[in-house]
């Protein structure tokens, strides 16, 4: 440990003297000629290529040079780098990892240092805020909406449902032997949309206490559980598929609840299936969905923070955001770009609309154990071998362990 401390002290000394490494100049704010390292995970080969091109564009500007590393096993790779004191200067941060990283003091707060930060969707800003600090600007996002097979619905003369009652009826009508009307993955990151639509949520807004035991939560869970019990809804695994997209693609479901990523999968694996995206039905409390996002984090331990911030500003600038998301189903995180993004893909309007009322699905450090317990319970509800009160109490108790309240 002495050696680690010595290394840290040396690093600090170097910063002060500004005499080590490849740092040119040394005054804060306008570092140039710096070489930065960036870690990212792969979204798809096409997206990786676009990312590389955007980074090439930045390097050509001549201010700084960025080396990109697209890594497999991202969690393991990033954790190892951070734990070993060799963090990359810039790296992708998944929204559900933000609280843990922020609490461990790994991130430099740069959210408000980019241009026009109020242009980001509010729920995304909330996702990347911890203890009131906006840590990193979101790069893009996806929301969950209702995906349905247009031929199947037309055949059964069913309109895309707009309320819970219509959803029940549609699922019932569309169910055939061996083919449930709705397939939805049994996990919080899907069933949560029903919680949002009922005005329920596992915790309160400040995430200081568990609210699993609210009447609305039981209502939401019971609603979905009943659909499963009646055979009108099922998990992808129970129809022999891995996820909702595969279920729709293989004709094992007429409707599913998935996010933007389904577009790429359908094009590649099931190009002949005709589908459409509609906003999820509204529940007792109105419309609700969940958003998933990734941000560009800057390591607090980085010795080239000014350069890193300059690079991130470039990445989240409107031009580059649009360039990055143009060809892909992920949506720009800037509200002002929604119209331009939709221009050549009007059929994905529902996903964009979700950005306005999506609930952030991020909690506090160490909360994953609670989510795992909730998922365990949801799987039980889908399989029909657990009653709602048991799921509520086991999750509530697990949450109390973590939140301490």
């Amino acid at each position: 440990m002495n050696r680690l401390r010595a290394l840290a002290l040396t690093a600090v000394a170097c910063l002060a003297v500004a005499a080590c490494g490849d740092d040119g100049g040394g005054s804060a704010g306008t570092e140039t000629g710096v070489s930065l390292s960036m870690y990212a995970f792969s979204s798809s080969p096409a997206e990786d290529q676009t990312l590389r091109k955007i980074i090439d564009d930045y390097n050509k500007l001549g201010r700084n040079t960025v080396t990109l590393n697209i890594l497999p096993e991202y969690d393991t790779a990033l954790t190892t780098a951070l734990a070993g004191g060799q963090p990359p200067d810039v790296f992708y941060v998944n929204d559900n990892k933000l609280p843990d990283l922020a609490k461990a003091g790994t991130l430099e707060p740069i959210g408000d240092k980019v241009d026009n930060p109020s242009d980001f969707y509010e729920s995304l800003r909330q996702s990347f805020t911890y203890n009131g600090v906006f840590y990193c600007p979101p790069k893009d996002f996806s929301t969950l909406q209702l995906i349905y097979n247009t031929d199947e619905l037309a055949k059964a003369n069913v309109q895309p449902p707009k309320t819970w009652e219509e959803l029940s009826a549609a699922a019932k009508t569309l169910t055939k032997p061996g083919r449930p009307g709705l397939v939805i993955n049994p996990e919080f990151y899907r069933w949560g949309v029903f919680m949002a639509q009922a005005g329920a949520w596992p915790t309160n807004t400040e995430i200081t206490s568990m609210t699993m035991d609210s009447a609305q939560m039981s209502q939401a869970l019971q609603f979905v559980a009943d659909l499963h019990k009646g055979g009108f809804a099922a998990s992808p695994a129970s129809v022999g598929t891995g996820w909702g997209g595969e279920a729709i693609g293989k004709g094992k479901a007429a409707m599913t609840i998935e996010g933007n990523w389904i577009v790429g999968a359908m094009k590649n694996d099931f190009p002949t299936v005709k589908y459409a995206v509609a906003e999820l039905p509204a529940g007792p409390s109105g419309k609700g969905t969940m958003a998933f996002s990734v941000c560009y984090g800057v390591a607090k331990a980085s010795t080239k923070k000014a350069a890193a911030i300059d690079f991130v500003k470039f990445l989240v600038s409107p031009e580059k955001q649009l360039e990055f998301t143009k060809a892909f189903p992920v949506m720009p995180s800037r509200k002002s770009l929604a119209g331009q993004w939709l221009a050549d893909k009007p059929e994905l309007q529902a996903f964009v609309a979700g950005g306005d009322y999506a609930k952030k699905s991020v909690f506090v450090p160490g909360f994953k154990t609670v989510i795992d317990t909730l998922n365990d319970g949801i799987q039980g509800l889908a399989a029909g071998n657990k009653p709602v009160p048991e799921v509520v109490s086991s999750t509530q108790n697990a949450g109390k362990d973590v939140l301490g309240g």
Binding site: A83, D100, G240
Partner: protein
Amino acid sequence: MVDTTQLPGTAETAAVPGPAGRRRRNRTSRIHGRQGLAGWLFVMPALLGLGTFLLLPILLALWVSFRDWSGLAPLDTSTPAGLDNYRDLLVKSGIVQSDFAKSLRNNLYYVLGVVPVQTALAFFLAVVVNAKLLKGKTFFRTAFYFPSVTSSIAVAFIFVFLFSPTGVVNVLLSALLPGSVETVWLNEPDGVFHVVLGWLGVDTPPGLLADHRFMGLSYWDWLSGPSLALLTIMALATWTTIGTFMLMFLAGLQNIPEDLDEAALIDGASPRQRFFRITVPLMRPTLFLVLTLGIIGTWQVFDQIYAMTSGGPQKATLTPAYLIYRDGFENSAMGRAAAIAFIVFAIILVFTGIQRFVLRGRTE
């Protein structure tokens, strides 16, 4: 008559070398000393390698298990935690303890199911492909070794389809059993013992088993048996490891001098006698190797869980090694992950000890 006391392996019944050398009274102390020096010289490079690249990290991990560390920042940000990690896992009631208990239960069934089957099958196949009269040895040896070579991605891909509702396994079972079988194997969380008892009409646990708990799980839950999902993974793992152990048994079989078998044949011993009186005893060192590696490997099963189920459905395939990954790299609880590792370490030592004791007892 073959004097089996002169045979290699019978003097040393356990793998830990005993002081057999010292019993030879003719040895001079000069040769003793030379062996001592040579022994250390031979083993030194390996010790250096193991010490630096394995022992040192292990000691570091042990230290981490007594710290509270998220793993997302350097070690000097960690704080002392004393026995807290171990306490949370073993003693303090809560979700950490019950998850750990489930993983232990699952892994125990896994070990008890896989080790005997993979050892027996590997031995059987080794004897078969070693048979003098077998034509096409190369083809069979390579074929049976292939699963061990195949990457876990490919194996996972294939097994998911083999065990899907309309996959080969269900098709075969439907042909053999009345009615049609459409089980979604990897999605079945209930333990087989519970399932069978359910068929016999026993749906609720007797009070005795349901009311008493150990480490957060009721006795009834402990006695659930492996789930169908876990059984599927056990089948997959056995199938993948048979080849490697077959190879080790094959090498062990090749050590057996041919003339021994011939002498026994001349003496009138039947194939069965030759097998059990000559082959099996001489395979003891190899058997110890395969059983030990089997116990160690099964208590550390991770790759298949990671690739196929992530511990589901409903934590029915959760194992301690997967928990280590989840806590260390997903839950930012690196200290607790390290504690899990050393509890598993202790369990493996106990199992290996039991195994050696049983094997040693057999030969006296």
